[in-house]
C-alpha cells in the first residue's frame, strides 16, 4: 500500500473510532439524569462540607443520577430562585426557610408532592415524624409541597466568665424573670470599657421569642388575627427596646446583622446573645477559646421561644421531579439528618433523628433538645403576605430603637397596618 493511502486510511479509521466512542458516551450520558440542587447552606461551612458528603453518598447509591450543586448566598437566593422559576428553568431541589414557604406555594413555585407521598403511605403518615409547626406551612388545600429538614428554637448563649465577673451565676441561678434579666444587664454593662450585656440583632424573627417568653403571640393559628398589640406583647416590646435605650446593648443596634452579633460575642464585647442551635458553632468558629465559657440558657419568663426551620421543595417545572424526590427523601431521612447534625451543626426536623443524638457526646445540644424545642411556642409566621407584614414590624422595631416615636405607639401602628393586610386576605 502506498504511504499516502496508508495515511488516509489511518485518518478515516481514527475519525470513525472517535465518532463511535462519542456516540457511546452520548448514549451513556442520556442515561444519566442531572439534578440541580440550590441551597444557601452549600455556601456556609461546616454545613457545605456536610451536605457535600451526603450528596456524594446519594450519587454513589444512585449511579443514574448526578447532582449539580448550586451554592447561593442568603441575600440573593429568593430573588434568584423566583427569577429562575419564572423563566421556566428552576433548580430541581431548593431549600427555603419555613416562613417563606407559603408565599412560594401561593406563587405556584413548588411542584406538588402528593403522588410521591402516596407511595410513602399518604401525607399524614409521611409527616408524622416531623414537628407540626414545620408541616403546616408545607401544606395548602390538602396538597403537600415541601419536606422539613432543619428545625429548632431559640436560646440565650452566655459567656459564663463575664457573668461571673459581674457577680452573677448563670449556671445555677439564671434570670427567671424579665426584671431579673434587666438587673443582670445593668451589672454586665461597663460602657466606659466598651463592654455591654446583650448583643441585640433587631428583627421580627429574633423579637418573636421575647414576645413568647412574656406570654404574648404574634398571630392566631390560621393567621387571621394578630396579637401584636396585646398587653403582653406591648410589655415585651418595651422591655426589648428598653435594653437598648438603657444602654445595656452596644450602640448601633439598628445596623447589627447576624454576623455582627456573633462577632460581638466572639470578641467578648457582649455577655450574651440569642440564637438558634447553629449560633453555638458560629461563636466558637469566631473564637475557639470561648467554648469553655459558653453556656446556653432558656429565656426568662415562660421560657417559650419561636420555632424556626428550613424545608426542601421541588421547583415547579423541574424536568426530573421523580429523581428530585429521591434526593429530597435522601437528604431528609433520619440517618442523613443526624449526619447533618454531627457534621453540619444543624438541628434535625425529624423526631427520630433528634432521638439519635447522644447528649453526653454533644452537651451543647442538651438545652435545645430538652428545653427549647419542647417549649416551642409558635413558629416563625408563615403566610403569603408575611413579606410585607414583616417589613412593617421591622420598621416599628428600628423606629423605636432610634427613638422615632414611642415603642407602644409604633407597635400599635404596625399591628393596625398588619391587620389591614390580613383583612384583605380574609
Amino acid at each position: 500500500m502506498k504511504r499516502s493511502n496508508l495515511l488516509l486510511f489511518s485518518l478515516v479509521l481514527t475519525l470513525f473510532a472517535s465518532l463511535f466512542s462519542a456516540a457511546l458516551v452520548q448514549v451513556e450520558a442520556e442515561d444519566i439524569v442531572e439534578l440541580r440542587f440550590q441551597d444557601w447552606r452549600l455556601a456556609e461551612e461546616p454545613a457545605a462540607s456536610a451536605l457535600g458528603a451526603i450528596v456524594a453518598a446519594f450519587e454513589e447509591a444512585h449511579p443514574n443520577i448526578k447532582v449539580q450543586l448550586e451554592p447561593v448566598t442568603n441575600t440573593e437566593r429568593i430573588e434568584k430562585f423566583n427569577n429562575q422559576f419564572r423563566a421556566g428553568d428552576p433548580p430541581d431541589v431548593v431549600r427555603f426557610n419555613v416562613t417563606e414557604v407559603p408565599t412560594e406555594i401561593s406563587m405556584g413555585a413548588f411542584e406538588p408532592l402528593d403522588q410521591f407521598l402516596e407511595a410513602e403511605g399518604g401525607i399524614e403518615a409521611f409527616y408524622a415524624d416531623f414537628s407540626q409547626y414545620l408541616v403546616i406551612p408545607a401544606i395548602k388545600d390538602d396538597h403537600a409541597y415541601a419536606v422539613p429538614h432543619e428545625g429548632d428554637s431559640f436560646l440565650l448563649y452566655v459567656n459564663k466568665r463575664l457573668w461571673s465577673e459581674a457577680g452573677l451565676d448563670p449556671v445555677n441561678n439564671p434570670p427567671k424573670t424579665f426584671e431579673e434579666l434587666r438587673e443582670a444587664n445593668l451589672k454586665l454593662t461597663n460602657a466606659a470599657n466598651n463592654k455591654y450585656a446583650f448583643g441585640m440583632y433587631p428583627n421580627f424573627q429574633w423579637l418573636q421569642s421575647w414576645f413568647l417568653a412574656n406570654g404574648a403571640r404574634y398571630f392566631n393559628e390560621d393567621y387571621t388575627e394578630t396579637y401584636l398589640d396585646s398587653p403582653e406583647a406591648i410589655e415585651a416590646f418595651k422591655f426589648y427596646i428598653g435594653m437598648y435605650t438603657d444602654g445595656t446593648v452596644p450602640p448601633g443596634a439598628p445596623e447589627v446583622g447576624y454576623g455582627d452579633q456573633i462577632a460581638l460575642m466572639a470578641q467578648e464585647q457582649v455577655a450574651y446573645i440569642q440564637g438558634p442551635y447553629a449560633t453555638w458553632g458560629n461563636i466558637v468558629a469566631g473564637n475557639p477559646e470561648i467554648e469553655k465559657d459558653l453556656l446556653a440558657i432558656p429565656f426568662p419568663g415562660t421560657g417559650q421561644t419561636a420555632g424556626r426551620g428550613t424545608e426542601f421543595a421541588i421547583g415547579a417545572g423541574s424536568k426530573h421531579p421523580a429523581e428530585a424526590w429521591e434526593l429530597i427523601k435522601w437528604l431528609t431521612n433520619a440517618e442523613n439528618m443526624y449526619e447533618f447534625f454531627v457534621n453540619g451543626s444543624m438541628m434535625p426536623a425529624r423526631m427520630s433523628a433528634l432521638e439519635k443524638i447522644d447528649l453526653d457526646a454533644y452537651p451543647q445540644a442538651r438545652p435545645m433538645i430538652e428545653e427549647a424545642i419542647p417549649n416551642t411556642g409558635e413558629s416563625y409566621p408563615a403566610f403569603p403576605e408575611w413579606g410585607k407584614c414583616s417589613s412593617i414590624l421591622n420598621d416599628a422595631i428600628i423606629a423605636s430603637l432610634l427613638g422615632d416615636g414611642e415603642p407602644e405607639e409604633n407597635l400599635r401602628s404596625a399591628a393596625t397596618q398588619i391587620r389591614e393586610i390580613i383583612a384583605e386576605r380574609k
Binding site: 450602640p251 448601633g252 439598628p254 410585607k388 417589613s391 420598621d395
Partner: protein
C-alpha cells in the same frame, strides 16, 4: 405660499437608507430585545395589579396614585435627591482639586498618585459597601477606634445605625468611590488647556487664583458639565451601595433610595405592579437628565 409641513413617515425614513438600516439592524434588534421590551413590559405592568400567582388585573392609574400618596415614596424621592446632589457636588469639587494638584509641575511620583486615586474606582459597589460596613461599624469599626484614639469622641458613634448620620455616611462612601472618575475626566481636560494661555496670563500679572478663574475654569466648563451630568445619572439610579451598606436603605428608611424602594416593593412585598409604577416614575426623571446630557453634548460646550 406657506412652508410645507415636515411630516414623519417610515417610507421616507427607509428610502435611500436601506443599506444603512441593514448595518444598524443587528444592534437595533439587540436593543429592542434587551432594553425596549423590558421598558415596554414595565410600563404595561404599572397599570396592573399582579397577584402572587401572577394573575393581572387592570387598575388604570391606581398604582401611580398610590405612589403619590405613599410617604415612603416621597421619603425615597427626597433621599435620592439629597444623595445625588450632595454626592455629585462633592465628587466634582474634590475631583477638581485633586486633578489640579496632580497637574502641578512640581509633583513627584505622579504615577503613584494616579494609581492611588484610581483604586476606589476599580472596586465594585458591593465590595465597597461590605468593606465600609466594617470600617464604619459602631462596635468594632476602625473609624470609631481612630476617633477615640485621637480623643475626638468619647463613645462609639453609630454611623450606619442612626438616622442622623446614616445618609451622610452613605454619601461619604459613594463620594470616595466616585471621585476617581471625576479626577480622570478633569485631569484629562486640564491637559488640553493650551499652556500659552496660562503663561500669557502669568506674564500679564494674574495671580494663581485669577489664572484658574479666567483661564482654567472656562476651558474645563464642558468637561465639568459632562462629568456632572454623567455622575448625576449614575448616582440617581444607584442601588447596590445602599443595598449592602445599609441593608437596603436602613435604618428606618433613612437611606432608602428610589431604586431600593422599587426592589423592596417588587421582590419583598411582591407588589410587581406598584413596583413597576415607581420604576416608571423614576424612568421619566432619568429621561429628563439624559435629555439634558444630550443637549450639553450638542451644544459642544
Amino acid at each position: 405660499m406657506g412652508k410645507r409641513k415636515n411630516v414623519f413617515s417610515f417610507s421616507k425614513l427607509f428610502k435611500g437608507n436601506r443599506l444603512g438600516w441593514v448595518f444598524v439592524a443587528p444592534s437595533l434588534i439587540l436593543f429592542i430585545i434587551t432594553l425596549g421590551y423590558p421598558i415596554y413590559y414595565a410600563i404595561r405592568l404599572s397599570f396592573f395589579e399582579v397577584s402572587l400567582n401572577f394573575s393581572e388585573t387592570f387598575v388604570g392609574l391606581d398604582n401611580f396614585i398610590t405612589a403619590f400618596k405613599d410617604r415612603w415614596f416621597w421619603n425615597s424621592v427626597k433621599n435620592t435627591f439629597i444623595y445625588t446632589v450632595s454626592s455629585v457636588s462633592i465628587t466634582v469639587l474634590v475631583g477638581l482639586l485633586i486633578a489640579l494638584a496632580l497637574s502641578r509641575p512640581w509633583l513627584r511620583c505622579r504615577a503613584v498618585f494616579h494609581l492611588l486615586f484610581l483604586v476606589p474606582w476599580t472596586l465594585s459597589y458591593v465590595v465597597v459597601g461590605s468593606v465600609w460596613r466594617w470600617i464604619l461599624n459602631a462596635s468594632y469599626g476602625v473609624i470609631n477606634a481612630i476617633l477615640q484614639l485621637l480623643h475626638i469622641t468619647e463613645a462609639n458613634i453609630s454611623f450606619l445605625g442612626s438616622s442622623e448620620y446614616a445618609l451622610m455616611s452613605v454619601i461619604f462612601v459613594n463620594t470616595w468611590r466616585s471621585i476617581p472618575f471625576a479626577v480622570v475626566m478633569l485631569y484629562a481636560g486640564l491637559q488640553l488647556i493650551p499652556t500659552e494661555q496660562v503663561e500669557a496670563s502669568k506674564v500679564d500679572g494674574a495671580t494663581s487664583l485669577q489664572t484658574f478663574w479666567f483661564v482654567t475654569l472656562p476651558h474645563l466648563r464642558g468637561v465639568i458639565a459632562v462629568t456632572t451630568v454623567l455622575s448625576t445619572i449614575w448616582t440617581f439610579i444607584q442601588f447596590d451601595l445602599t443595598q449592602v451598606l445599609t441593608l437596603g436603605g436602613g435604618p428606618n428608611h433613612a437611606t432608602e433610595l428610589l431604586s431600593n424602594l422599587i426592589y423592596k416593593t417588587s421582590f419583598t412585598y411582591y407588589e410587581f405592579g406598584y413596583g413597576a409604577a415607581i420604576a416608571v416614575l423614576m424612568l421619566f426623571i432619568v429621561l429628563g437628565m439624559t435629555i439634558l446630557y444630550q443637549r450639553l453634548l450638542e451644544k459642544d460646550i
